[in-house]
């Protein structure tokens, strides 16, 4: 039995501690109901597939903070090489794969090989030994504290129930305001 997106993300919210969270795509429609912190950075407007890369850069820049990226399966498939890059440059990055098997906001078309890809095996094969997979809400809830303990990188594959009729979500704040809020929380004063 797969999880509902909201209940899966509620467990992330309960275990994030003080980490930066980067919701992408479909996760943006749910995360504002779970959290409203300066360390929430909604990657929208985005370049689809670049959420893990953005998160890796942020995690390398802020090694003490830790970064959680909420990434869809369609997005990950656009940039599978990111698994190798994350392994090559270890950082405190938690890459949470929200696998609903479909391109949710374009009408629910299945992703290539939908339901037949072992993402945890892909992550392990790319060099990420801390790779987990969860299908049940109860098991994810029970194991999440251990998943979020220790150092990154960590890959978590969550199997979700597809949602129908979703539209492109809107982040709660414009990008410029989000950047200002995040950098203020990180005590970054000057532009790069």
């Amino acid at each position: 039995m797969c999880m509902d997106l909201s209940e899966a993300l509620a467990i992330v919210a309960a275990n994030r501690q003080h980490r930066i969270v980067i919701p992408t795509m479909g996760a943006i429609s749910v995360w504002p109901m779970l959290s409203d912190q300066a360390l929430d950075f909604y990657y929208m407007p985005s370049s689809m597939g670049q959420g893990p890369a953005l998160g890796l850069g942020l995690a390398l820049a802020q090694p003490e903070k830790g970064v959680i990226v909420l990434c869809g399966d369609g997005s990950l498939l656009m940039n599978l090489g990111c698994l190798v890059t994350v392994a090559q440059h270890p950082a405190n990055l938690w890459l949470i794969l929200l696998d609903n098997g479909q391109y949710e906001i374009t009408g629910g078309q299945p992703v290539p090989m939908s339901g037949r890809i072992n993402y945890a095996l892909l992550a392990q094969g790319a060099g990420l030994p801390r790779a987990y997979s969860f299908e049940s809400h109860e098991v994810w809830k029970a194991e999440a504290p251990a998943v979020f303990a220790g150092q990154g990188p960590v890959f978590v594959w969550l199997k979700l129930t597809p949602r129908a009729g979703q539209k492109t979500p809107t982040p709660p704040r414009p990008m410029a305001e989000q950047i200002q809020r995040l950098q203020c929380a990180l005590a970054i004063n000057s532009p790069p």
């Binding site: 893990p52 890369a53 890796l56 390398l60 790069p192």
Partner: protein, 159 residues
């Protein structure tokens, strides 16, 4: 320009990270970057990914420099658009223009030199072309001009 000379330029301009996907020209800087403590070398698998990493580094207060070939620039269009125009981050690029020297003498039919500048203009990225026998000072001056402008920009290296 040698790898050591490139590292020296990057250090003088306080770049914290160099994000490199090597080609036959730019790849010659890689050994020096590997051994240098600063700037930190990042090796992504694809150019768009490298631009995404640069965006995260900039959000986190660092100053990255992305070094890619023009072929990767062509691939990275959406990441480039997003970082420069949606996030409005001052992305700095060095782009090697494959076959430019041979093409300009009529010795190459490679289409890379035809499309690099129009692509940059289409994405509204200011750029500066270094001369064929460029020096570290040429590169440093061009990058300094970009940083003084405060916007995104690219320095093109003829290959």
């Amino acid at each position: 320009m040698t790898g050591d000379e490139f590292v020296a330029v990057a250090r003088r301009l306080c770049f914290s990270h160099v994000i490199l996907i090597p080609d036959s020209e730019l790849g010659q800087w890689e050994p020096a970057l590997q051994t240098a403590q600063e700037p930190t070398l990042i090796r992504p698998t694809r150019e768009g990914e490298g631009i995404g990493i640069a965006a995260g580094l900039m959000l986190g207060g660092k100053r990255p420099l992305v070094v890619i070939q023009c072929t990767g620039l062509f691939e990275a269009g959406d990441a480039l658009r997003n970082v420069v125009h949606d996030l409005k981050l001052p992305l700095r690029l060095i782009v090697g223009v494959r076959s430019y020297l041979a093409y300009s003498k009529g010795h190459s039919i490679d289409s890379c030199p035809i499309f690099t500048e129009p692509i940059l203009r289409a994405w509204q990225i200011p750029y500066e072309f270094l001369p064929p026998q460029y020096t570290p000072l040429n590169l440093e001056t061009a990058l300094t001009r970009q940083m003084e402008r405060g916007t995104a920009g690219a320095v093109l290296i003829p290959e």
